[in-house]
Structure formats: C-alpha cells, structure tokens
Amino acid sequence: MITAQHISKTYKVSKRDAGFSSAFKALFRKEYEYIHALNDVSFTILDGEMVGYIGPNGAGKSSTIKILSGILTPDAGTCRINGLIPWKNRIEHVKNIGVVFGQRTQLWWDVPVLDSFELLKEIYRINTRTYRQNLEQLCHMLNLSELLKTPVRQLSLGQRMRCELAASLLHDPAILFLDEPTIGLDAVSKLAVRDFILKLNKEKHTTVILTTHDMQDIEALTSRIILIGKGKILLDGSIHDIKKGQESTEEALAAFYRSHDI
C-alpha cells in the first residue's frame, strides 16, 4: 500500500533571460526563482490498483514519481510504501519496485538483450530459479523469444519497449512505475504494451502507477486517475468525472485544464 501525506517540494532555479546584455549581467548577479513543484499532495493507492497519474507538462508528475521511487527527498510530508519510507530506506525499497522511463533505456546498446537481463539478475541478486521462471513467463507474455539474441541498437522502438518492460519486472516487483511507456510507439506496439500491463496486473496483482499524455492509455488501463496541476491534486477519481456528454476524453481534459488555468 502506498500512502502519501502532505508532500511538498520546492526547487530553486536560476533565472536566465535571452540576449547579450542580460547574459553579461548574469556574470555578476544571479537571480533565483522558486518553483513549487509539489504543494501538499496526499493520496493512497491500494495493492494491486492501477492508477493513471496525469497532468500537463511541468505539473509535478515526475517529481512525484521520483519521490515515490526514492530518488528525491521531499521538503515536507510523509510517504510510506509497504511500510518503508522510500528516501530513507532506499535500498530496501527499490528491491520491490520496477521503473520504466519511457524516454530512456536501461538496456545496453551494443550487446544482445539477454546479456542486459543477466546483468540485472546480478544487480538485483535474483536467484537462478526465479530468474528462469520470470524470464520464461515474461518472454511468453511479451513475445520476446525472437529478440533476446539481438543487440539493442537493432531493435525497433516497440520491440525495445517490450524488452524494457521485461527488464523492469525480472525481480518480481510489487509496484511498477511507468513513465510514458507508450511514447512514440506505433499502434500495434501500443496495444501490445497495454495488453501486457493489463495481464500483469491481473495475473501477478502488481500495483501499476502510470504517467502518460495518451488518453487512450488511460481509458484502456485505469479506472482511477489522479490529476495534478501546478503541484496540487485537482482530481482523484474516474475519467468520467470530467467527461460530459459526447466529447472525447482529450477534449474533456483540455477543457478541464483550461478551466483550472493550467
């Protein structure tokens, strides 16, 4: 179970204007700006739940994901995931989570996929039996058997994403964070990824937290959404809460963003 209470996070960034003279001025004096990335955010996610975490760019999505995965320490607030505080018990905590960053890869570019998997086996200290079992199961579910011997640089984006998913799940995590898993994928690959996530949730009861800009992902996968804007939670409920009548989800969401001026 994930409980987050009153989490806040503020960043200090230096201000820079374009242009020659202001660049010169910045040589002598630097101005700072404070950005409230998260402002009193609270939610609870139960085991086995699938949650879509959505919001416009810069709303605080990735800060939340970073805090939940132990990478970032918040300024205020508490968070417990299966009894552990992510940023305090980081090493213990990350044994139980899997993370997929859609725009980055954790696979090694020049070697066959299987070699990357073997390295992960070592990193997570997965025992050989569990590893074999999981690998077989994931290969079956994601249809990877053809790909394992191929160097990553020769894979298409869709094939790579399937491998990324497998790589994040080899150690049987109880919670899976997906950061824009379908970005840039073609229709077939998107459907494959969605099917897999659904199946995973059903069969292994894995908790899935998903950030995406693709509303079809949300519709296909999650019954619950948490909508964040300007560091605050604006909605914790179902996509139907913002949908009125015939409009598409995309239009509904855009209207919602506009009405909250974000």
Binding site: K9, Y11, K12, S63, K66, S69, G70, I71, L72, T73, W87, R90, I91, E92, V94, K95, I97, V99, F101, R104, Q106, W108, W109, D110, V111, D115, S116, E118, L119, E122, I123, Y124, R125, P151
Partner: protein, 257 residues
Amino acid sequence: MRLYGKFFMMHLKSIMEYKTSFFLSCIGQFLVSFNVFLGMYFMFQRFNNVSGFTYEEVLLCFGITLMEFSLAESVARGFDTFDSMVKQGDFDRVLVRPRNEILQVLGSRIEFSRIGRILQAVVMFSYGFAVSSVRWTLGKVLTVLFMLMGGTIVFCGIFLLYASLCFFTIEGLEFVNIFTDGAREYGKYPVCIYGKRVLLFCTFVIPYGLIQYYPLLYLLDRGKPYYCLLPAAASLFFFPCLFFWKLGVRHYTSCGS
C-alpha cells in the same frame, strides 16, 4: 566483486562490436602519454639534471606515477563522465537499484582503450627500473608496491571527489583537471622541483608527495627510513573523498537534478 566482473564482461562485449575503432583508440592512448616521455627525454638531452635528479631517477619517478595513475584510471574512469550521467538523469537509474551506488557508477563505464595507456605505463615502469641504479632490497621492492597501492587510492579519491562535485554543479569542473591530468603530467618530475610551496601543498593538502617524492628519496637512499611508510598515510586521503560523495548523494536526493 562479481557484479563488477559482470559489468566488465558487458563492456568487453560492447567494445568487440567496434574492433577497428578500439584498436586505433588504443594506439592513440599510447601515443598521448608517449608525448610526455618524449618531452622529458628532449629536456634531458639539454640538461643533465634537475634539482639534483638525473634522467634515470626522473624516469623511475615518471614510470611509477604513470602506473599509479593508469591503475586508478582503469578502475575509476566511470567517474570521469559522471557529469553527463547526472545531466542526462542516468543517475536516477542507479538510485532505483538496490546496490551500492559507487559500484554501479564504476561499472557504468570501463574504457578498454586505456589499455594503451597501461601498456605505456608498463613500458615506462620497466624501462625506469632497467636503467635505474637503485640497489634493490626487499624493503625497497615493498616500498614500490606500497607506492603503487597508495597512489592508485589517492587518484581514485580524486576521481571520486570530482564526481561528488558533479552533484552540486555540472559546469566549471574543468579545474579538477589540474589534480588528475595535471598531476599525471607534472608528476613525471619529483614534486620538489616545483618549489617549497608546491611541495607543502602536495604533502598536506593532496598527498601526491607522499606517493611519489618521499618514497622515491627512500629508494634512492637519500631519505629517512620512515619515508617508505608514507604511501599508507596517503591512502587516508580516500576517507574525506568518500565523505564528500555521501554528502553529494544526499544533496542530489534533496534537490533533484
């Protein structure tokens, strides 16, 4: 250790995909440090000693320093590109894995083309030994081993310090070069030739002198007996570096990237 071995094999496999490039880089690496030797060689064509050290003695010093640096480099080069790791957010990936961060960073980059440099170091090291007029005893051989170990640890410490600084700022780290490449470059001569102030700095701030100049005096029968133990003292330098690293990781997790 096993994990590091695994990382090692992965890098080896990757590099085998680009054999020609690898080979040429090795030669390049070899040539780069060869320049330093040639420069020194030509200087001694003109002058027959510097601060009382002959060519043969300086060569021994150069061989040992280069060896120390190359050993440290082949272990800790992962830290060298750490700024880009922080910039691109790849350090996040390290943090979401349940293993020691330093080990993972070290494993993230192992440069085999440094073999060129190590080869160069071995050649210089052996050459320095062959021409030196040192009367070898067991104690002196042990001192050389001591120097190599202490030196590798000190250079690793500096690489670690560099990486720790990356957590606070990713620009302006060029000046650390003075302490890594600069130390290799100027460490070819015993540090005392640069004058008293530099020697003081290299004794008490960053202990280059303890892994190079003082034990060298011992090898040449000019120093006090306890000089042979100084490389061990130099290894203590690693602890403040480690402390900085821990501080850096904490800063990273509290400020983000």
